[in-house]
């Protein structure tokens, strides 16, 4: 073999332990991704390779799939926020023609899935499978359950009151406060010349993935195959094999297309296990997809937040002290924490105290940038209030206190594109229709690792890339094809990308904006090695050169120093004889990084007569290091901004305090933004290709809500400290302003 290799160090951290391993990678003499500007695919705008399939409806989602003989499953859920099941009688359901399987809490294997002790309205109690969805639903309604209703509490503030119903048997509703401090806030506030103190509130936010959660489970000879709408095929495989006590190798998880997850589909979901239990009992495949209502109440949410913030600064705007006490609820899952420092800015003295609260509500789960939008809303609002109190431009106050040079540059760039200099210096009047401008910022980690991939070059020249990642709808497949096409000198159509199957080399879940930064380096490493190995079979014999002296471009392989010496890709592949070349590669350092700021500038229009706010214009500045495909990247930014507008203006889970149910588990009263609400969005890239790949899923969602709130204030002087900024809140804030 004439391939030159070099050693690189891979550092992995797991549960606080760091391990270092050295691996061999091809030594091409090139660092990182090379000169992307001259490339045909990497870093270039390309339509998704599955775009036509999707827009013509040929793309099959889990929801669309049907297997021969398949049954439909339904889950009966607790009708009360807290109750004990004292009796279940499923005999009427069992007698209904078409019903093939019923599982109850006491059945074998059901204990961890179905409950006799229900802690939120919507918790799983029983499940049925029947020949049609309608029969399954009828059967579910025929299961008679007698509950003993118990006292409950569904709001975080109420759960902290003395005498509130206790959610978890072994601990109080409110956790011990977690304190994070630096310096001395008493000294800091004493030194402060201007202070602002205010309370901010954000609401529980649900994912609203277009495709609901669900799966199809199929057992064959004791082996389980699951088609799931999931962001994490590997974790789903692991979870199901553990649940059923069978080897990982006996569980295969497949996900082709999916309609979004936003963090709610990262783990082995209980409804997957229910479907598999039903399927095992019935002896035929079972499909179980959730309804929109189930989606809102059971599959996760972003916790709410109550944040009391005090901030102090010198007259020149320099921050001196910051104090925050915050709490929120993740329902029965508790955990509601947000970043534990003064978000984004440098403050010498701070103290943050956070409390997680249990309530009788559905469990929280990751949702696009967990914790950050809550933190950003309060911090970026209070910075705006501080700037007003200081009589300074809020941008200047931010820039002065922001330790991150990249973000400062992004703010400058965005302000210019947006026309921040045209912003009114003081709020407009509380009459008529007024426009105003606001800004907000955020930060996110991202970064990659832990991914393996496999490249196959067949003797006929066809190419496959296999990777056990999943495309949650963002274009992962396309990025993989781009990297391979670039390396092999082929077109996107020439690359067959196979992902979304646990039979392929493993990758992690698609969460935390990590997929692109995990998969891209692994694929790059794989195809680089595959290319060199292919060349190695003939470089010296045919051309008398080393494989490193050959290049693949435009369907040809040729000698770099003498392009007249060439052969076609097919001829090159034919040198393999009758055996395909199979190469495994993995994520390697040097091609990705993590840590990105995000900045947004927003113009709104406020109707002061009705309190209705419209977002008119957004300039979103993001950075992702090397942007693999600007077209896909921009669409992530657009999506983030739109979701951010929803979070800022429309979306909230509303619970009835007396009944303990969500009153808006639908898409009518749980408002996500519609086509008419979409503003002009200018997506601005702050380019840093030298950093390698960094994810973009989360960052563009973080700054939107506070930027809207600040723009509303700038428009008409209404300071709304709670999102969503609904008309009633705007009218109340306007009245407050008029009263002075």
């Amino acid at each position: 073999m004439q391939i030159k290799m070099k050693k690189v160090k891979i550092v992995t951290r797991r549960r606080g332990e760091t391990t270092e391993t050295w691996i061999d990678v091809p030594d091409t003499g090139e660092e990182g991704w090379g000169d992307v500007a001259g490339m045909k695919y990497v870093g270039q705008r390309h339509q998704r390779i599955d775009a036509v399939e999707k827009v013509t409806g040929r793309a099959k989602y889990t929801y669309d799939m049907k297997l021969p003989g398949m049954l439909y499953g339904k889950i009966l859920r607790s009708a009360y926020p807290r109750a004990r099941v004292v009796r279940i009688d499923a005999s009427k359901a069992a007698a209904l023609p078409g019903v093939k399987a019923i599982i109850l809490p006491d059945d074998e294997g059901a204990a961890d899935l179905l409950r006799r002790e229900c802690r939120y309205a919507g918790q799983e109690v029983a499940a049925v499978a029947a020949t049609t969805l309608e029969i399954a639903e009828d059967a579910m309604n025929l299961i008679e359950v007698q509950y003993t209703e118990l006292p409950f509490v569904v709001h975080a503030d109420k759960a902290l009151e003395s005498g509130a119903a206790q959610v978890q048997d072994d601990r109080p509703n409110g956790s011990e406060p977690r304190v994070n401090e630096q310096g001395d806030i008493n000294v800091g506030f004493a030194e402060s010349e201007v202070t602002v103190e205010a309370g901010y509130k954000t609401e529980v936010h649900t994912h609203v993935s277009l495709e609901t959660h669900g799966s199809i489970a199929h057992w064959e000879n004791g082996k389980l195959t699951v088609w799931a709408s999931t962001q994490a095929i590997s974790a789903t495989q692991g979870g199901l094999s553990q649940f059923f006590g069978i080897p990982n190798s006996d569980v295969r998880v497949i996900k082709d297309h999916m309609g979004g997850g936003f963090g709610s589909k990262l783990g082995p979901r209980p409804e997957y296990a229910v479907a598999a239990l039903l399927a095992r009992k019935a002896g035929v495949p079972v499909k179980l997809m959730l309804t929109r209502k189930e989606e809102h109440i059971t599959t996760g949410n972003r916790p709410d937040s109550f944040q009391n913030v005090k901030i102090g600064a010198k007259k020149n705007g320099k921050l001196v002290a910051y104090r925050r006490e915050n709490f929120g609820t993740g329902g029965i899952a508790g955990r509601a924490s947000i970043p534990g420092q003064p978000y984004l800015y440098e403050v010498p003295n701070f103290r943050v105290e956070q409390t997680d609260v249990y309530t009788h509500g559905g469990p929280q789960t990751a949702l696009r940038a967990p914790g950050h939008p809550q933190a950003a809303f309060a911090m970026e609002s209070v910075m705006d209030e501080l700037a007003a109190a200081l009589d300074m431009d809020p941008m200047a106050v931010r820039q002065m206190n922001d330790p991150d040079e990249t973000r400062r540059n992004m703010v400058t760039l965005g302000a210019e594109r947006f026309g921040w200099d045209k912003r009114r210096a003081t709020p407009g009047p509380a009459t008529g229709i007024q426009r105003g401008m606001g800004m907000g910022a955020g930060v996110w980690g991202g970064g990659g690792g832990r991914t393996k991939a496999e490249g196959v070059i067949h003797p006929d020249g066809s190419v496959e890339i296999r990777c056990g990642t999943q495309d949650v709808g963002v274009g992962t497949k396309t990025v993989i094809a781009q990297i391979a096409a670039e390396e092999f000198g082929l077109t996107l159509d020439d690359i067959i990308v196979k992902i979304g199957d646990t039979n392929y080399p493993p990758s992690g879940g698609s969460g935390g904006s990590t997929t692109c930064a995990s998969v891209s380096p692994a694929v790059k490493n794989t195809v680089q090695m595959a290319r060199l190995k292919l060349f190695d079979t003939f470089a010296s014999s045919t051309f008398g050169v080393s494989p490193h002296d050959l290049e693949a471009k435009d369907g040809k392989v040729y000698v770099k120093s003498d392009p007249s010496k060439s052969m076609t890709w097919q001829q090159a592949a034919a040198q393999l004889g009758d055996e395909p070349l199979v190469v495994q590669g993995q994520w390697v350092p040097g091609l990705s990084s993590s840590g990105v700021p995000a900045v947004q500038f927003i113009e709104v229009e406020v109707n002061t007569a009705t309190g209705v706010v419209k977002v008119v214009r957004v300039v979103a500045v993001n950075t992702s290091g090397l942007i693999m495909n600007p077209l896909l990247w921009e669409s992530q930014v657009n999506g983030g901004v739109l979701m951010g507008i929803g979070y800022g203006l429309y979306e909230e889970r509303i619970m009835d305090p007396r009944a303990g149910y969500m009153v808006n588990p639908n898409l009518e009263a749980y408002r996500v933004m519609g086509a008419m609400e979409i503003p002009e969005i200018e997506v601005v890239a702050y380019n840093q290709p030298e950093r390698g790949v960094i994810g973009i899923g989360e960052p563009p969602f973080i700054p939107t809500a506070p930027a809207i709130a600040n723009a509303v204030y700038n428009a008409c002087g209404a300071r709304v400290r709670a999102i969503p900024i609904t008309p009633d809140k705007v009218l109340a804030a306007l009245a407050e302003r008029r009263e002075g």
């Binding site: 009708a79 309205a121 309608e134 639903e137 009828d138 007569a609 009705t610 309190g611 209705v612 203006l649 429309y650 509303i654 619970m655 009835d656 305090p657 007396r658 009944a659 149910y661 009153v663 808006n664 588990p665 009518e668 009263a669 408002r671 933004m673 519609g674 086509a675 008419m676 609400e677 609904t726 008309p727 009633d728 009218l731 109340a732 009245a735």
Partner: protein
Amino acid sequence: MKKFAYIDATSVDTVPSLLGRRFGQAQVLAGGTDLVGELKEYIATPDRVVNLKSIPGLDYIRQEDDGLKIGPLTTLADIETSTLINDQYSVLQQAVSAIASPQIRNVGTIAGNICQRPRCWYYRSEDFDCLKNGGDTCYSVRGVNRYHAIIGGGPCYIVHPSDSAVALMSLNASVKIQGPRGPREEMLDDFFVLPELNIMRENGLRANEFVTEIIVPASKPNTKGIYVKVRERDAIDFAMASVAVTMTMSGNTCSEATVVLGGVAPVPWRVPDVEQFLQGKQITEDVASAAAEMALREADPMSDNSYKIEMTQNIVSQAILDLA
């Protein structure tokens, strides 16, 4: 969804007997945009669904001597785009084009819109056994009542969801109703009923009656109308508050006016006092705000919906000023 028999009606006359005399047993189906939702959520659980679309000739817009006649199955989209509905009825077109989304307007019908059931989130949820669903509690009273009634409520506090009904009432429209003993006609003013009269229904249709025509009388010359609707989203949202105003002007004096509020009461809420007050007045900002205040005089908000008073006052005065 509960199982039901599906019957294609073939003529107007046969519908009453297909419906039968007991409420809840049978329900007519037009575009289905409202009814199907109620069926799926087990809010409506009829034994029979009587399809009206199988009856020929119920889809029309005609200008006749005594006014505009609209067939019950006329889609909202057809009303929105009809050139027959000229300036004097423009308030109807404004209201209809503010309903839901283009897709729903393509399918939803005008009679269905007037007869649609309320959107109260307690009523619409199978989780709550509310007064309107036959239970004994109106959950809105001590629950979350942000979108509930501020006028005319009690013991149930729904708001009437129809935009078209508000506009039609401002045009003094009436409906033709078919019953077992033939047709009758009723002003929309009398058609809708408050919960204190009948908590289970929002209008006075008997179980075996249905709407067969909407009649909009011709209005006086120099009459103009306006519909203002407040909603959080422009893409699909019911009214948080709305108002339809028509005014007949001579010069800048109002000789006659109609004012109907939407989104604030269990029925489209006509305010005759305000109509009288405006008569003979020159329309100034002061007159408009006095009228607006008068329109909401009876408002008695609950814990979360007092914002509706100011919001509605603001759009009433804006509507009046815009027409002058």
